[in-house]
């Protein structure tokens, strides 16, 4: 059979339309992943931090670093020590993120306390809103995550986070941050920082679990989130947080 140029284009065009319709349909329907014991819809994760219990030992920082292989000099969680003298700017220190704790403070006449910090896993997170490619997102169970295979490393999210919780991983050149130990909490374990906190100053909580102690905690304590005026709907609640903390 003789094939003209016109025939070739006609057949090619038809095939192209068919292929695109097929591919689009396949993408919409897709293959469902294997069923899983962990149901994302049943959880809404957060954390409670009791300032009155934190002793600034840095166990959480070391545990996080080991569990998540955080590169040296970068932190997914860190601890700050505040010294608030009357009429002065508060002095805030965090030597190496408190990886080795703090040098002893002897002045008893100044108000001083420790503040552990981490990603606040905001329900209305500014960081996920600015990502141009959809590489960072809030999971259905309320954890702010980064897709390392999809991140371009543009750092918009690093700038957008009001809490300074993100960094560019020096080896992968993609953004890295606290995952709330997503690989642990989806297996029924607690986060590495909470597991290793010797005074239970920080506790992982599930707001969707009616038996979780968080409901009692929120009902009976003075709690605060960091930078409430940013309206980020942060899910890390601090008990007895001093007004000087930023």
């Amino acid at each position: 059979m003789e094939m003209t140029r016109r025939d070739l284009f006609t057949i090619g065009g038809k095939l192209l339309v068919l292929a695109s319709v097929g591919a689009t349909l396949e993408q919409i329907v897709g293959a469902e992943p294997a069923p899983d014991a962990y149901k994302m819809a049943d959880h809404w994760w957060g954390m409670i931090i009791d300032i009155d219990k934190c002793i600034g030992c840095g166990n959480c920082v070391r545990a996080c670093s080991k569990e998540n292989k955080v590169p040296g000099g970068y932190f997914r969680t860190w601890v700050e020590r505040y010294q608030v003298a009357e009429g002065k700017q508060p002095k805030v220190e965090s030597p190496d993120g408190a990886m080795e704790g703090f040098p002893p403070l002897t002045d008893e006449n100044i108000k001083s306390f420790f503040v552990p910090k981490l990603c606040n896993h905001c329900a209305d997170s500014p960081c996920t809103q600015v990502c141009p490619v959809g590489a960072t997102f809030i999971s259905p169970d309320g954890v702010v995550l980064v897709d390392p295979d999809y991140c371009l490393g543009c750092r918009y999210c690093v700038q957008a986070c009001p809490y300074g919780c993100r960094y560019l991983h020096p080896e992968t050149n993609t953004v890295d941050k606290c995952t709330l130990c997503y690989h642990r909490i989806t297996q029924g374990l607690t986060t590495a920082c909470c597991e290793n906190c010797p005074t239970q100053a920080r506790q992982l909580v599930d707001f969707k679990d009616p038996k979780d102690p968080v409901h009692e905690f929120l009902r009976h304590n003075m709690v605060q989130v960091l930078k409430p005026y940013m309206a980020t709907n942060a899910k890390v609640y601090y008990k007895n947080l001093d007004g000087s903390v930023r």
């Binding site: 192209l16 695109s20 993408q27 704790g101 002893p104 001083s112 959809g134 997102f137």
Partner: protein
């Protein structure tokens, strides 16, 4: 048929072809399932979940070391998790023979929590280590699992 309908058919074919090319490229470029839960790849969730665990967790330790757990439960360190002092031991839990844990460095370990610091909560037991023991290691007097003398 309309007069000169050929003028309509040709642009329509071009339009359809263009649409076809767009859909084909889109299908090839957009990751599978993108948008299932939101503006991201759903596979990222499984990827992040697949990271290995370093800290086995309290319950895992106590499956074998029940005796140490009981000793600890009787004392002030009842709520301090094993790995908070002994370090990450998931490898040991998976294969106890191949991964032997090393004992903690007592000189630094106890000090991190119990060195006197004005910022620590007032009720928390603290000492100035230099004055407290005269250089004797903490576990010379205190049992780490039940430290009260």
């Amino acid at each position: 048929m309309f007069r000169d309908s050929g003028h309509l058919i040709r642009p329509a074919v071009v339009l359809l072809l263009g649409l076809g090319i767009f859909l084909a490229i889109r299908a090839a470029v957009v990751p599978k399932g993108f948008g299932k839960y939101g503006h991201y790849r759903p596979q990222a969730l499984a990827l992040i979940r697949s990271k290995p665990i370093s800290f086995a967790g309290q319950d895992m330790c106590l499956m074998c070391h029940d005796d140490q757990g009981k000793a600890r439960a009787a004392g002030k360190h009842a709520h301090v998790a094993c790995e908070a002092c002994h370090g990450p031991l998931a490898d040991h839990a998976n294969d106890p023979a191949a991964h032997k844990p090393v004992l903690p460095d007592v000189a630094n370990l106890c000090r991190r929590c119990h060195e006197k610091d004005a910022a620590k909560p007032k009720g928390f037991p603290q000492v100035v280590t230099a004055e407290h023991s005269g250089g004797v290691l903490c576990n010379g007097c205190h049992q780490p699992h039940n430290p009260h003398l």
